[in-house]
């Protein structure tokens, strides 16, 4: 084995499998497997969740694991933190590991916040002495000075999460493994956590970070690994990997109009009015060709998102939807987008909005690239999803 310095991560050809059907009792399953393995050694009832994953991380580096749900990210973190073991391959993490796989699972509901600080701190690997020294800092970071002597079961979920994360924030390990733990908690606290993670990384701690929030991934990690369907698809600088991941995710979900309504979408297009490239600040026109079964009062919606989660802006228009094939032309006087890859969303609902199903459900319909200057990096942390107001002129014919 190569001797690595403290704080480095070495993963080489790691494989991991689980039992295929967890509802079958283990003992029964094992009896069966034994029987099968005698009859036919190749047909064992397993499911691979990691296949041949290799990467390295230097001390002080920061690496993000990205991928859709069930792609093996958490399993990989668990292997690295030795919560579970790989089926094949080598994984090495040198130095003290701080694994933040779940912020609330170490808390005991019947104990007070104070008792839980000591409990969870110990569980995460801090000595009692260290916790005593850091106690006031932890409570202050969590902003729980008033509630600390209350039983944790009377805390809100957000308070529990704040307490859990604050304890972990004072771990000072050589390697910090963070799994999607910031999904609850208000925006302020999330920002505080990301800042704290940034501080920890700057102090020389190695960071391995799992998140679905690509903006925070880009803000806090230099490198990224993309896992998809148990396989490591790509690794390298965060920007390039994230771009690749985005493109792939969009290709999947942008083979579009997965949700059918009574109105059919025949064609969707976005182009610059002057006929050139889609550039920042240029005038653009969105054209949609649709087919409706009947004439109706309707609201038309158009939105643009980066990635496929939430639109950056939405505009709408009320008018009469003609029966049969019709077109919508919407002119945006100003494209408020930096360089990047975007999705166009659309929907048509009845007007006034009743309890009826929408004529065309809200969904991304095409994706496109915009050219222009790079997005400005915010000075700290994150939140690329800034709502934007856009003026537009509509024509439905």
């Amino acid at each position: 084995m190569p001797t690595l310095p403290d704080g480095s991560i070495h993963v080489e050809h790691v494989w991991k499998r689980f039992r295929a059907d967890k509802t079958v009792p283990l003992f029964y399953d094992q009896l069966h497997r034994l029987g099968r393995s005698i009859a036919d050694p190749d047909r064992r009832n397993y499911r691979w969740v990691l296949k041949d994953v290799s990467f390295d991380l230097e001390p002080g580096g920061s690496l993000a694991l990205i991928g859709i749900n069930g792609s093996g990210k958490t399993t990989l973190l668990k292997i690295l933190s030795q919560v579970t073991y790989q089926t094949a391959g080598t994984s090495q993490v040198k130095g003290r590991i701080g694994a933040l796989l779940s912020v609330t699972s170490g808390l005991h509901p019947d104990l007070t916040g104070r008792e839980n600080v000591f409990l969870y701190g110990a569980v995460l690997g801090m000595s009692r002495e260290r916790i005593r020294q850091q106690f006031d800092d932890i409570v202050e970071f969590a902003d729980l000075q008033d509630a600390i002597d209350r039983q944790v079961k009377f805390f809100s979920l957000g308070m529990q999460m704040r307490l859990g994360f604050s304890i972990a924030a004072y771990l000072e390990p050589d390697v910090l493994l963070v799994d999607e733990v910031l999904s609850v908690g208000d925006a302020n606290f999330q920002q505080k956590c990301l800042q704290r993670i940034g501080e920890i990384v700057r102090s020389g701690t190695t960071l391995l970070y799992v998140s679905h929030d690509l903006a925070s991934v880009e803000a806090s990690c230099e490198q990224a690994v993309w896992l998809s369907d148990a396989v490591l698809r790509a690794k390298g600088p965060t920007k390039e990997v994230v771009t690749m991941y985005r493109t792939a995710v969009e290709q999947n979900s942008a083979l579009l109009t997965a949700k059918e309504g009574v109105v059919q979408l025949l064609k969707a297009e976005i182009r610059a009015v002057d006929g050139g490239q889609l550039r920042s600040e240029c005038e653009v026109e969105v054209s949609l060709t649709l087919k409706a079964p009947e004439r109706a009062n309707a609201s038309f919606f158009i939105g643009i998102s980066q990635g496929t989660a939430f639109p950056m802006f939405v505009i709408d228009h009320q008018g009469i939807m003609p029966a049969g094939e019709f077109e919508i032309h919407c002119k945006l006087g100003y494209l408020p987008l930096p360089k990047g890859h975007y999705s166009l969303w659309t929907a048509i609902t009845g007007y006034p909005k009743g309890k009826r199903d929408p004529y065309l459900p809200w969904q991304p319909v095409i994706s496109f690239d915009a050219f222009g200057p790079d997005r400005m990096e915010p000075p700290e942390g994150v939140m690329a999803l800034s709502p934007v107001y856009v003026g537009a002129t509509w024509k439905v014919s």
Partner: protein, 319 residues
Amino acid sequence: MTGPESPFESGSAGLQVTDLTAIPTDPPDDIWYHHKVRFVASIKLLWDHREIMYTLAERDFRAQYKQATLGVLWAVLSPVATLAILVVVFSRVRAFPTQGVPFALYAFVGILCWSYFASSLGTGGNSLLVNKALLAKTQFPRECFPLETMLVNALNTVLSFIPLALLFVIFGRAPRIATVWVPMFMLIEVVFAAGVTLAVSSLIIQMRDLVQVLPIIISLGIFVTPVIWPFTIIPTHYHLFGGTEVHGHWIGGFAVNLQVIYGFFNPLGPVIAGVRQTMLLGGNPSWAPLCAAVVGACAYLAFGYRVFKRFEVNFADIA
């Protein structure tokens, strides 16, 4: 395995895209992971994490009495209640000769020893299941969970010595000098209980049926163990064959000491007998069964720890 000089070659390069067709369907035979159990290393690791064990024990002990008006007082009150029942029930019953010792005292000593074992096994056996949220998210040695519950039970047992002292006062007796042996007997019991608890907890997480079976086994165990019957009814010379009877005694032939054999398989027998002999009667314990108990308890621990470590790999996946 890459050489020591270049472990980071791939990490610092630019974007690398995996060739999906190059990934085999199964890992090559030479890289399969084999869980190596090094006993010395894992015991050292356990020692390094002893603080976690204390903290978890503190958690359980505190949580046990949270929101109860009388709080930790219950730790003393509940054995006193058990005792009161015992005194009432057994003050009239005399099931077997107790060599002048009040039956309640005689029985309580047995129950004290038994209940430590029973509660350790009962809560320790389920400890991995109860703590599965922690088990699947944190990485300290897994032995901490069953051993931590044994610590809590030890504390509860120590508190039960308060009613025992009360009982001595009630009957106007004092523990004999030979009581100094009692900690040694307790140590044998702890070793035995640790072995069984480790093995059972690691099996229970794989076969949940045992959750139901365990209480049944424990409640049967009290009859197999000399709790309410004297250990001395087990013969020391059990004649298998040969020999002749002279004045009611067998001479010659092949005889075995059943107490020794029993002591090996159930170290609790000699332990309870020893505690009674020293604390209540002030005599020397019979050493042969005790030695068997020591060997037996160590064997249980070695076996239990081996089983636990063997199954440890799966805990987080099946919890």
